[in-house]
Symmetry: C2
Subunit: 198 residues, 2 copies
DNA sequence: GCATTTACATACAGGCTGCATGTAAATTCA
DNA sequence: TGAATTTACATGCAGCCTGTATGTAAATGC
C-alpha cells in the first residue's frame, strides 16, 4: 500500500539525509561562519538529529569539508559556463577572471571559501580542492597562453597560485564594497604586463 | 624591607601580566592555532588564572587580536631593518619582498597572520592592521615607484592589496615546502611586467 | 524467514567560554 | 595619615557544544 510513499531504500535515505545536512550547513556556514554555527543548529535546520550527522560524517569539520567541496564545484561550473574556450588565451583569462569575481558575489562564499576554508581545513587541503575545481581552469588557461607564446614562460604552478591569490583577494575586496571593475582593471594591467614580456 | 621586591605598582603588575599572557598566547596560537588553544592552557603557560585574563581582555578574541598586532609589528620592523631606503624604487620592492618572505618563515607566523587572523578577526580588521604595519611599506614603495615613473600609474589601494595578497600566498607556499626563490622569481616577473608598461 | 548490517535517536561525559562573586593590594582623597 | 574607593586578580558557576556510547527499527543478505 504505502510501500511507495513510506518505503525507501537505504541508498535513498542516505542521499536525502546527507543532502539535507549539507544544504543546511551551507546556509548556516555562509551566513554566520564556521565557528559561530553549532551542530545542534545545523541538524535543527536539516530536520534530523545529531545522531544522523555523526553517522554520516566523522565530525563537524568533515561536514564543513563537504560543503566547501560542493561550493567550490559550483563556482568552477559557473566559470566554465561563462568562459568561451574559443577566444584567444589572454582574453580567456580576462573573461574567466570576471566570471570568477561574479560567482564569488554569492553571499557568504568569500567567507566560506577564502576565510574559514583555509583556517579550518588548512592551506594544503584547500590547495588540493582548488586544484580540482577553481584553479584548474586558471592553470589550463595560463599553460595555453604560454604555449601560444602570448605569455612569458615561467613555472606554471607558482604562477597559478599567485594569480589565484590575487583573484581571491579581489573577490574579498568586492565583498567589502570595492568596485569590481577597479579590481579587474589592476588585474588586467598585471596580466598585460606578463603578456608583454614574451 | 622587601618593599623593593614585593611591592609593585598597579601599572607594573598590569604590564607584566599582560605581557605574560600575550607571550604565552603567541606561543600556543602559533603552535596549535586559535581554535585548538583553550584559555586554560594559555593561563597555565602564563602562570596566571583565567580571572586575570578576563580582567585584562574582554574575551579570547581580544587577546588574539593583541597577539596579531604584536606579530604584525614585528614583521614590519624586520622588513624595515632589511630595506635600504636609498636604492631605486623597483629594487626596493624586490628587497622588501624578500625580507617579508624571510620574516614570515618564523614558525607559525603564516598560520597566525594569514589563516587564523582573517578567519577570526575578519578581513576588514586585518586590512586595518595591515595598513598600519605590513602593507604600509609596500604601499609607500609602490607610490614612490609610480611617482618616479618606473611603474605604470594605477590606483594604489587596489594594487597594494593585490600585490600584498600575492606575497602572502608566496609566504604560505614557502611554508609548505616550495622554494623561496621560485616564488620570488615569479613575483619579480610580475613586478617587472608592471614596470615595463610605464 | 532469519541473521546481519545500516540508519538513525537518545543519553552521557568532558571541556570550554564568559560572567558573577569575593578578596587583598594599591590608589585617592579628605 | 587613615578611610573610601578603585584596581588586580582568584574562585566558582551556568550554559553550551562536541564527540561517543548505547539502543532500536528498518533494510539487506543469505
Amino acid at each position: 500500500m504505502q510501500s511507495d510513499s513510506m518505503r525507501r531504500s537505504n541508498q535513498e535515505r542516505t542521499d536525502a539525509t546527507r543532502a539535507a545536512l549539507v544544504a543546511a550547513a551551507r546556509r548556516l556556514f555562509t551566513g554566520a561562519g564556521y565557528a559561530a554555527t553549532g551542530t545542534p543548529e545545523i541538524v535543527g535546520a536539516a530536520g534530523v538529529t545529531r545522531g544522523a550527522l555523526y553517522h554520516h560524517f566523522a565530525d563537524k569539520q568533515t561536514l564543513f569539508r563537504a560543503v566547501v567541496e560542493q561550493e567550490a564545484a559550483a563556482v568552477a561550473s559557473e566559470i566554465e559556463r561563462a568562459a568561451p574556450d574559443a577566444t584567444d588565451a589572454i582574453e580567456a583569462l580576462r573573461v574567466g577572471g570576471r566570471a570568477y569575481l561574479e560567482a564569488m558575489r554569492m553571499p557568504g562564499r568569500t567567507r566560506l571559501l577564502l576565510l574559514d576554508g583555509p583556517a579550518v581545513l588548512g592551506r594544503a587541503l584547500m590547495d588540493e580542492i582548488d586544484a580540482r575545481h577553481g584553479n584548474r581552469a586558471l592553470r589550463e588557461g595560463l599553460t595555453a597562453a604560454m604555449r601560444a607564446g602570448s605569455l612569458a614562460k615561467m613555472p606554471v604552478g607558482p604562477l597559478t597560485a599567485l594569480l589565484g591569490a590575487m583573484f581571491d583577494r579581489a573577490a574579498l575586496a568586492v565583498q567589502q564594497g570595492e568596485a569590481l571593475d577597479d579590481q579587474l582593471a589592476v588585474m588586467d594591467a598585471i596580466v598585460a604586463g606578463l603578456a608583454r614580456q614574451t
